[in-house]
């Protein structure tokens, strides 16, 4: 299991996930920096992603669309706010065709940090939702990947 810890911070609307991979920092970075690799993991198998633009520079954009089972297309974008390959990347993650235009849709600030850990790499993903409303909208929009299964699992929220 690559995910080693998950932290949910209600106050700051932040989900932090720590993952360990048995490969180098540089190799882990390629998952983000190479658009063809990004396409293989960004969308669920039922909604594969096609990356159209991929500018990993501050102020640059990544644009993509995901294709659904009925050929339906769902566009999304990243607006890069900071990048320091191969160790960190920060971007605004939104929906729609126009980068930077949220259009009432939820946006999330994503921070990715990759560092050496033992013989491999540790990747820390931090998703910060602009508002509790954005969090909920994200959920309502689906992204159905085995979510029903997750509903049965009780997290440790109330045990904290």
């Amino acid at each position: 299991m690559s995910v080693t810890s998950v932290d949910k911070d209600f106050e700051n609307r932040t989900l932090t996930m720590t993952c360990d991979f048995p490969v180098s920092v540089e190799r882990t970075w390629e998952l983000w920096a190479d658009p063809r690799q990004l396409e293989r993991w960004w969308g669920p198998p039922t909604y594969p992603a096609t990356v159209e633009k991929h500018e990993l520079t501050p102020g640059g954009d990544v644009t993509y669309f995901m294709t659904g089972p009925e050929g339906d297309r769902h566009h999304g974008w990243w607006r890069i706010t900071a990048v320091e390959g191969p160790t960190s990347l920060e971007f605004l993650d939104g929906f729609g065709e126009e980068p930077g235009e949220a259009g009432g849709m939820p946006t999330v600030t994503m921070r990715v940090e990759i560092s050496g850990h033992g013989d491999g790499a540790r990747m820390v993903l931090r998703s910060t939702f602009e508002s509790a409303e954005a969090m909920e909208k994200m959920v309502e929009m689906g992204m159905d990947e085995g979510m029903t299964a997750a509903l049965g699992q009780i997290d440790d929220l109330l045990d904290a």
């Binding site: 690559s2 995910v3 998950v6 949910k8 209600f10 106050e11 609307r13 989900l15 996930m17 993952c19 991979f21 048995p22 490969v23 190799r27 882990t28 998952l31 690799q37 293989r40 993991w41 960004w42 669920p44 659904g68 769902h74 849709m105 993903l125 998703s127 508002s131 509790a132 409303e133 969090m135 909920e136 909208k137 994200m138 959920v139 309502e140 929009m141 689906g142 992204m143 990947e145 085995g146 979510m147 997750a150 509903l151 699992q153 009780i154 997290d155 929220l157 109330l158 904290a160």
Partner: protein, 115 residues
Amino acid sequence: MVVDNVPNEDEHVNRLFHALSDATRRDILHRSAEGGLSVSRLAEDYPMSFAAVQKHVAVLERAGLVSKERRGREQLVRTEPDAVRRARAALDRIEDLWRGRVDRMSLILDEELGA
């Protein structure tokens, strides 16, 4: 991908997350799940004033996480299981989205390593 917007839903969700962000309130939720406890009974177990505990209960009540029921001179606090389940589901689903992505990253790396 259908955005299913229920009126007042956004405000409700804000209150929900605020209510769950405090350890005392989470503890009150736990204890009230067993059955109705009065505010004064709850207050005995926290190093704070009765009024402070009453405020925590009010925050939980506004978020729809507990309800209060008058029993004689006492107010019994009861956890509303649906609201709690809904908040959990929201966070579980967000977590699941990223778990799925990380799993797919692992698969890509595993293939290369010949695992």
